[in-house]
C-alpha cells in the first residue's frame, strides 16, 4: 500500500511538473507553440467575453492557438501577479480590466500596469450610466444631486465595492458637488440590477449596454452617461454637458486590455501588437464591443501608457480625497490629473 501511495505521489508530481515546464523559446520564430491567455475575471463576465472573443481573432493573425484560463480572485490581482511571474517570452498574455491601476493605493497588490507590464493593446473603454428606478421621483441628474445635497446620506447608492465604478463616480460627485450617499456594496452589475428592481437601492452606476435593456423594458431610467460627449447609441445626456466641472476627469471608465511582461523582447512585442491591432479592428469583434457598450480604443505601447496614466490619476486621487485609500497616490508617483502633461 505504501508503494502504491508513493507511486500515486510520483504520478501526480509528474503531471503537475509537465504543466509547469516551459520549452526554450526561439525568439525569431515566435510564436512556435500555444500562447497562454490569462483572464483576470471569471467565466461569462464582460472581461471574459472580450478576452475569449479577441483571442480567437488574434489566433488568425498570429497563426498560433491561445489556451485561455480564468484565474479570478482578489479583483484580478491573482492573475496579474501570475503573469508577472512567468518568463518574459510572450507566451503568457494577461487579459484584464482597469483594476490594477489602483492596486497600489488600495493596498491590494504591488503590481501595476504602468510599472510592471507592457500594454499590447488597450482594447476598448466601457461607458457607464447613472441610473434610477423607473418610478423614482428623480427625473434628471440635477434632481438627484439636489436631493443628495440637501439630505446627506439619505439616498442609498449601490456600489460594486471599494474602487469600483460607482464608488469612484460617487467620489467624483462628492468632490465637485458635495453630495453624500449611503453606499452599499454589491457583487457587480447583475446584483446591482437585482437590488434596483427589488427597491433595495435608490441609484447606482452601471455599464450602459446592460442598463439599456432595462430602460427599454421600462424598469429603470438612465439619468446621465459618465462621458465628456453625448453618444448617439444611448439616450441620456453626458455628465460634463450637465456639469462642465467634470470635464477634467473625462473620458474615464472601465477598460479592457491585453498585457505582457515588460522585459519581453521587442520583436515579440511588435508581433503581438500588430496581431492584436488587426484583431480588434475585425468587424465581428467591433460588434461584440458595441453590444457590451464599449467604445473601441485600439492603442498600444507608449500611447497606451499615457492613456492609462490619465485614468489612474483620476481614480487614485478621487479615492484618496474621499478617504477610501490606504496610502497617498503621491507615494507611488501618481500626479493629480491637473498636473499631467
Amino acid at each position: 500500500m505504501k508503494k502504491l501511495g508513493l507511486l500515486t505521489g510520483v504520478v501526480v508530481v509528474g503531471i503537475l511538473g509537465a504543466c509547469e515546464s516551459s520549452e526554450t523559446s526561439g525568439e525569431s520564430n515566435y510564436p512556435s507553440r500555444d500562447i497562454n491567455g490569462i483572464i483576470q475575471w471569471g467565466e461569462g463576465g464582460a472581461t471574459d467575453n472580450v478576452a475569449r472573443s479577441l483571442a480567437i481573432q488574434a489566433e488568425d493573425a498570429l497563426d498560433a492557438s491561445f489556451v485561455m484560463q480564468n484565474r479570478e480572485g482578489a479583483t484580478g490581482a491573482i492573475a496579474t501577479q501570475y503573469v508577472y511571474d512567468q518568463p518574459a517570452d510572450g507566451y503568457s498574455v494577461l487579459f484584464g480590466a482597469e483594476n490594477p491601476l489602483i492596486y497600489n493605493v488600495l493596498g491590494i497588490s504591488e503590481r501595476d500596469y504602468i510599472e510592471d507590464f507592457y500594454p499590447v493593446n488597450i482594447i476598448g473603454q466601457g461607458l457607464a450610466g447613472i441610473v434610477v428606478k423607473d418610478d423614482s421621483e428623480f427625473e434628471t441628474l440635477e434632481d438627484l444631486v439636489e436631493y443628495a445635497q440637501e439630505n446627506p446620506g439619505d439616498l442609498t447608492l449601490g456600489t460594486s465595492g471599494e474602487g469600483g465604478l460607482p464608488h469612484v463616480v460617487a467620489s467624483m460627485l462628492s468632490a465637485e458637488l458635495g453630495t453624500e450617499f449611503n453606499q452599499v456594496p454589491y457583487d457587480g452589475d447583475g446584483p446591482l440590477f437585482t437590488a434596483m428592481l427589488g427597491n433595495q437601492i435608490d441609484a447606482t452606476v452601471v455599464g450602459v449596454a446592460g442598463a439599456q435593456e432595462y430602460v427599454e423594458a421600462g424598469d429603470i431610467r438612465m439619468l446621465s452617461i459618465v462621458h465628456n460627449e453625448e453618444v448617439d447609441a444611448w439616450d441620456a445626456p453626458a455628465l460634463s454637458d450637465i456639469y462642465p466641472e467634470f470635464d477634467k476627469y473625462l473620458p474615464w471608465g472601465p477598460f479592457y486590455g491585453a498585457f505582457v511582461h515588460p522585459d519581453t523582447p521587442d520583436d515579440i512585442k511588435s508581433t503581438l501588437v500588430d496581431a492584436f491591432n488587426e484583431a480588434v479592428d475585425e468587424e465581428s469583434f467591433q460588434e461584440l464591443l458595441s453590444s457590451l457598450g464599449a467604445e473601441p480604443i485600439n492603442i498600444s505601447g507608449d500611447e497606451a501608457v499615457e492613456w492609462m496614466k490619465q485614468t489612474q490619476a483620476v481614480s487614485a486621487w478621487l479615492l484618496y480625497d474621499a478617504g477610501a485609500t490606504e496610502s497617498s497616490p503621491e507615494e507611488f508617483g501618481i500626479p493629480r490629473v491637473e498636473d499631467l502633461d
Partner: protein, 504 residues
Amino acid sequence: MEFLQQILIPFFDWELLILVAAGTLAGIFIGAIPGLSVTMAVALLLSLTYSWDMLPALALMLGVYYGGVYGGSRAAILVNIPGSPASVATSLDGFPMSQKGEAGLALFLTTIFSFVGGLVGVLVLASAAPVVASFAVQFANRDYFLLAMLGLLLVGNLSNGTVAKGLFSAGAGIVIGLIGMDPIGGGSRFTFGSLQLMNGVDFIIALLGLFGMSEILYQMRELKRQGKPVEFKKMIIPPLRFILKFLPLSMRVSILGVLTGALPGAGGEIAALLSYDHAKRSTKNPNRPFGEGAHAGVIAPEAGNSAAIGGAMIPMLTLGIPGDAVTAIFIGALFIHGLQPGPMLMAQSGDLFWVMVGSSILANIFLLIFGLMVVSIFIRIVTVPKQILLPIIAVITVIGSYAMNYSLTDVYWMLGFGLIGFFMKVHNFSVAPLVLGIILGPLIDTSFRRAYMSANGSMPDFLTGFVTNPISLILTIVIAFTIFSQTPIYKKVKQKILPKKQQT
C-alpha cells in the same frame, strides 16, 4: 400555439437532438468525477462553440448542465465523495444505502427523481417565469440573511446526534469562509500578507478535501481489517407503487428547489440542503433513520437540485440576471452570439426561450434514459477492490483541485482539508456542517452587513424590517418555529392540542 412548435424544434431537429443527448451523457460522467465541475465544463464549451450557431451551442451546454448536476450524486452515493456541492446532501443517506448493498436502488431512485425534479423546474420556468422572477427580485439582503440562518439550523440535522460537535464544525466552517478579501470593505482577513490567501478558500476545494481526500485516508485505515466486502445485490426495479409513494415529497421539494434556484444569491447546493431538511422533518416513518440510508434522504436533495436548474434559468431568461455560476456563463454565451440578455430578451427573441424550454425537457428525457442505462456500469465501482479504487480517486481529487484555478495552493488546501476531515471522522465529528459553514458563512456575512448598511446603520430600522416586510416576516416565523419545535414546551403544547392524533 406558436410556442408549442418552438418547444418541439429540438425534438425534430436531428442536430439539436444529438447535441442535447451528447451533452447530457458527457455531463453525467463529468459531474460524476470529483473536481470536474459543471461550471468548468460549460465554460470550456463556451470557447469550443464560439463559432457555432447559437442554438446548437446552447443545446450542448444545456445538456451538460442537466447531466452534470445529476452526475454529481453518482460519486456521492458510490464512494461518499460528492461530485459537486449540490450533491453533499445526497451523500448523507446515499453512501449508507450503498454500504448496505442498495447502491443500485439508490442510483435508480435518484435518476427517477432527478428527472421528476428537473421536469417540475422546466414546467415552472415555462408557465410562471415572470411571476417567479418578480418574487425573486423582492428578496432583500435581510431575507438572504434569514435564508442563510435557516440553512445554518440544518446543522442539527447533519450532525447525527452530536449537536455540540456539529456546532463546532459549522463555526469553524464559517471562520474558514471568512478568509480572504472582505467582499464589502475590500480589506484582508486572515491573509497574513499573502496574495494566495486573499483569494479565500473555494468551497469546492474544501469539499474535495473534506469528503474526497479524508474519505480515502479513512478507508485506507480500514484496508487491513478487510471485513466482508460490501454485498452486491443485483438491482431489482422496485414496483411502481414504491415510487409513487415518494411523489408528494418530490413535488414539495421540487417547488422548494425551483424557488431557491431562482434566487440570484442561492443555488443548487442550498436547494439540496433545504430539501433534505424538509424530507427529514416531514417523513413520518422512514424505512431507516435519516443518515443511515433513508430512501427519502436521497430522493429529496436530488429532486431539489435538479428543479433548481429550471429555477436558475428564470432570472437569466427574464431579467438577464444569473441564478448561479453556470447561468452566468450562459449569459456570456448569449452575448457572444449577438443577443442582449436582459428583460427585453423574451420580447425580442421569444423563440429562444421556448427552444431552451424544449431542450431542457429533452435533456431530462435523455437523463432518464442514459441514467438508467449506465446504472449497471456505475454500480460496478462498488465492487472494485479498495486498493485499486482509492489511488485512482486520489489522483482525480488532486487534478480536480488543481484544475479549479490552475493553482498549486488549492492542492495544498485540499490536502490540508483532507487531514482535518480524516481526524474529524476518527473522532466522530461530521464533516458536512463544516462544508455548510464554508458555503453559508460568506452569505451570512455579506447579507447581514448589506442589510445593516441599507438601514443606514440604524439598529431600530434594521430590526423593524424583520417584521414589516412580508418575506422577512415569513422567514422569521419559520426560523422561530423551527427552533421552538425542538423545545420540550412545544411537545407539551402539541400533546394538549392534539391528544387524539398522538395516541393513534
